[in-house]
């Protein structure tokens, strides 16, 4: 199993939470102090480099118009890390293909960073969470179509090195497509994709050999998603590729109480406020889900999870914290409960968790936890597939 360090690069220095109605989309940017922002960007990039030196792989993502994530252009942070690190695999999870609306620019950026890093890029593509449609002004019910059309174009551009081609799709029209540079990796960097419930999309991802990742979901749900992925993968997947990834919040302390204090800082992320209209833009969720919402049975995935107690979140594997031995047990338990998985994506910094404690978290994990889980085998159904090659 590979372990990946991750932070959303938060800007927590806001007025008291009870004075804010939202931390996303319309939180006025007068609350952003560029001098503090400059310190934070540089600190967060330093922490990625410390994680690299400790032997972890690195993941970045992007969001827009939100205090929860200052990384508004993940290809930029990826490029900095490509130049400033030597060893880590670099995962961008991901490029919001539907919302950026220029798939070829993404193809170029990924190819360039793949060359700079000499082939360490893992290129993720995401539909984008609900509130992202506002900053991008994307029709919510068409984001899935836009995502897949964009992926088709990017893959074709990466793998075409001969005669340039034209593309006239539903959302993008381009002429004489001819990518300079090509990606360093052949045929292209591993592709990752995220999902939280859409089984047809999971099946499609498996058939293309993409790594499937899901974030902050209870183990019961993760098992269901991973099993759907593996079933499709056995039927249609490309041998050798693919895999599954899960993201919890992770804090490793010297003592139990220190770990709990660290985890409580990370929960800042789960408690981020969002006005209701940003949580469910019309058409983002399927009609059946909205019928449940009208009947009061569905209030949003993250909302449902954040309303639960820390104990519940821990039992479900959404948060993992404790002494190194306790965290090892939690990871192995989760691994067994979901039928195994390949990549542990760890949000190890959020909110006000400061530099010192973030670095301590990284070092304790790398030194005392990682050696005990690194050897967990790739998920069994994939081994079966590999054996059949």
């Amino acid at each position: 199993m590979r372990s990946w360090y991750f932070t959303e690069m938060p800007y927590p220095h806001l007025p008291p939470m009870d004075e804010l109605s939202t931390m996303r989309v319309t939180l006025e940017s007068k609350h952003f102090d560029p001098k503090i922002g400059a310190d934070l960007y540089n600190r967060y990039l330093d922490e990625h480099m410390i994680a690299d030196e400790a032997g972890l792989d690195l993941m970045v993502n992007e969001h827009h118009q939100t205090a929860t994530c200052l990384d508004v252009a993940a290809p930029l942070s990826l490029a900095i890390l490509a130049r400033q690190t030597k060893n880590a695999q670099l995962c961008i999870l991901g490029n919001p293909v539907a919302n950026r609306g220029d798939p070829l620019r993404i193809a170029e950026e990924m190819a360039m960073v793949d060359c700079i890093s000499r082939g360490r890029v893992n290129a993720g593509f995401v539909r984008g969470v609900p509130y992202e449609v506002f900053a991008a002004n994307t029709v919510p019910s068409r984001t899935v179509e836009r995502l897949w059309e964009g992926i088709d174009l990017i893959q074709k551009a990466w793998t075409s090195s001969g005669e340039p081609f034209n593309f006239e799709g539903q959302f993008t029209h381009r002429r004489a497509v001819n990518l300079w540079p090509r990606p360093y990796q052949t045929p292209h960097p591993p592709i990752w994709i995220t999902g939280s419930s859409d089984l047809p999309a999971i099946s499609r991802a498996a058939a293309r050999g993409f790594v499937f990742a899901t974030f902050l979901q209870p183990h019961t749900k993760v098992k269901q998603l991973f099993e759907a992925y593996r079933a499709s993968y056995r039927l249609n997947g490309q041998p050798g590729g693919g895999g599954t990834a899960f993201m919890p919040l992770v804090y490793v302390g010297d003592t139990e109480s220190e770990a709990e204090a660290g985890m409580k800082e990370l929960l800042w992320y789960m408690q981020a406020k969002t006005e209701p209209q940003y949580r469910n833009p019309p058409g983002y969720a399927p009609v059946e889900t909205n019928v449940e919402a009208f009947r009061g049975a569905f209030a949003g995935r993250t909302d449902a999870m954040r309303a639960k107690s820390l104990e519940f979140q821990k039992e479900q594997g959404v948060v993992m914290y404790g002494t190194p031995d306790q965290v090892i047990v939690q990871i192995k338990r989760f691994y067994d409960l979901v039928g195994g998985f390949d990549h542990l994506l760890m949000m190890m910094q959020a909110g006000f968790l400061d530099h010192k404690r973030t670095v301590a978290n990284i070092h304790r994990f790398a030194k005392d936890v990682y050696p005990a889980i690194r050897g967990l085998p790739r998920t069994k159904p994939l081994e079966g597939q590999l054996a059949a090659e």
Binding site: N137, Y278, P281, P282, G283, V287, N290, F294
Partner: protein
């Protein structure tokens, strides 16, 4: 009660409601179509007219083909529907989104409508890029949106707990389809205003005085952009006068239709 049937238009099955007796009249419903149909306004119109009220693709029980992306597409479908029904030179009543669709049809075919009654229609932009012609109902707090749409928000309340599941599902799908067709450009067609000179049938532009989504000044500018339009308003009503003040709205529309 209305009867409904289905017609296939450009490959899509559309649900059509029919109600009343008399000369034919095309009723183009608002995005709140279920409340429109339940309103005494529609029952009143039906006393003198054979109403034909198509549910747009993605609304009611109508199919929504992937290629339909705007009121412009819907207008071509409804022109085909009227051709198939053998109807021309008939009056139309268009409510909000329906008013926009009525004008998209009228600019494409000068002879399709004899008279055009529009109630708080969407569809055009009068101001510049930084001017907010139409309030953004999708980035604003629900309480604020409700105050823009309704003078009396009680009129919008629905009991989803006891409503038949199929109707809740229609309501949810209507909201999705409205956003799908009107998200970008936001609730207008940038080309439409320049085409309005083609609308030579007499028009009534009727407005809820308390409309906060599109205000009466937007409505007056709309009337000025139409060659033969008069502007009138309905008191104590916001964006949906046909639901908030059905009698007053019906009186104005009936007087105009004659």
């Amino acid at each position: 009660m209305s009867a409904s049937d289905y017609k296939t238009v450009q490959g899509a099955k559309l649900e059509i409601e029919r109600l009343g007796q008399g000369a034919p009249l095309l009723l183009l419903l608002s995005e709140e179509e279920q409340l429109d149909m339940a309103s005494p306004f529609v029952a009143g119109l039906a006393e003198k007219h054979s109403i034909i009220a198509p549910h747009y693709p993605g609304f009611g029980r109508s199919e929504r083909p992937e290629w339909v992306s705007s009121p412009d597409d819907i207008a071509y479908m409804l022109l085909d529907l009227l051709d198939a029904e053998g109807l021309r030179n008939i009056p139309v009543v268009g409510l909000s989104l329906g008013g926009w669709i009525a004008l998209e049809m009228a600019v494409k075919d000068r002879g399709v409508f004899s008279k055009i009654a529009l109630v708080d229609p969407l569809g055009v932009k009068h101001g510049g890029p930084f001017e907010r012609d139409i309030q953004d109902i999708w980035t604003s707090l629900p309480s604020k949106v409700s105050a823009w749409k309704w003078r009396d928000a009680e009129k919008s309340k629905r009991d989803f707990a006891t409503m038949r599941e199929e109707l809740v599902s229609i309501h949810a799908r209507n909201i999705e389809s409205f956003a799908r067709f009107c998200w970008d450009p936001y609730m207008h067609n940038p080309k439409l205003k320049r085409r309005l000179h083609r609308v030579t049938a007499p028009a009534l532009v009727l407005w809820g005085e308390n409309d906060g989504v599109v205000t009466t000044s937007y409505g007056r500018a709309y009337a000025e952009a139409l060659p033969k339009a008069k502007f009138e308003s309905v008191a104590e009503a916001a964006h949906y006068p046909q639901i908030e003040q059905p009698a007053a709205t019906l009186a104005r529309v009936a007087a105009f239709l004659g």
